[in-house]
Symmetry: C2
Subunit: 182 residues, 2 copies
Amino acid sequence: MDINNLCLGALSLGEASGYQIKKMFEKQFSHFQAASFGSIYPALAKLTEQGLVSFREETQEKRPTKKVFSITPAGRQQFAKNLRETEPSEQYRSDFMVLMTFAHLLPQERLTEVLERQTAQIKAELETLQEIYANNQRLTCGMRFTLEYGITVNQSLLALMEQRGDQLVLEIEMEKREASAP
Amino acid sequence: MDINNLCLGALSLGEASGYQIKKMFEKQFSHFQAASFGSIYPALAKLTEQGLVSFREETQEKRPTKKVFSITPAGRQQFAKNLRETEPSEQYRSDFMVLMTFAHLLPQERLTEVLERQTAQIKAELETLQEIYANNQRLTCGMRFTLEYGITVNQSLLALMEQRGDQLVLEIEMEKREASAP
DNA sequence: TCCGATATATATTGACTCGATACATAGCAG
DNA sequence: CTGCTATGTATCGAGTCAATATATATCGGA
């Protein structure tokens, strides 16, 4: 699923400027997709060219002029078609996991810090998702499901980090001592 | 964490050719990092230029000539330094979540298929991780932790999919009917 | 009051990465 | 004997990101 398509999807929920689409990626979609201006603006230009979205210019007082994009009927049709053909793939990239894989190369204080930071991150993400879930009545069933999905993951990870974190630091220190004096 | 660094990390576990490094990304590291030839070969060239890795050419019978790369002491030092400065960030990208967000635009059969496929994917990933965990004595504590992390996530997701999947299909169909005849 | 942070808004650039492809050889299954 | 899988090196085009440029405005703190 490329950014062209994701912009089409975002606009299928309502008209928006490039800046506002970026905000949507940072808020509603942040737990499963990301996009930068460097891909959003070219995508909107291309979609306009293809007649899948249109825009009107909105001059604002005390703010720069906005280009408000809307999805066209052709765009809506195209998005539904692309969606039907999209395979449910996933990709996960984690520097945290890399740090854990090579944890024996980290000083103990740094390892502790990394684990604490990761735990805090998970906690923050969990709270964000729970807040969206609780304070939003207009969510579709599908959206509610993605939130449940994210909440489930983060809850089980938080439990793992809290149960296993301190123990891991000790294990790694043991391993280091064994390696240096076998 | 860029691919240069990841290659350095891979080579810190033992010498390997570009092809073998790719295999490592597909096996040991597949649940948290990925890399293609298009990034691995340029990375190895750059690292060689910087003196962080070196290589010898190994002529094989009935096989193309191999370039076997090894990490140099300077490379090992650089990797440890980079690791200390790496922040534990994570990124997750999921077309499955996009499909769920816009599930109301999918035909029912396709939605069912997507959910089944996702469940199968999670099951497969879970089995792969459990197999590595069980059949490998040489793992470091850190590596074992990354496997536990992955197993935890996939177990809780599998439970969610099995509890919630069928129900979701019904909910979405209800929602569609309400939307078309309010 | 002025400085820096934050927010709204569009847009581009360089660097990085992926997926596909090319080239070369060989074994194995149908 | 054709196609698939495997080992191996390497590049190219297309897509993407992070940073930056350019404007303007608000708001809090020194």
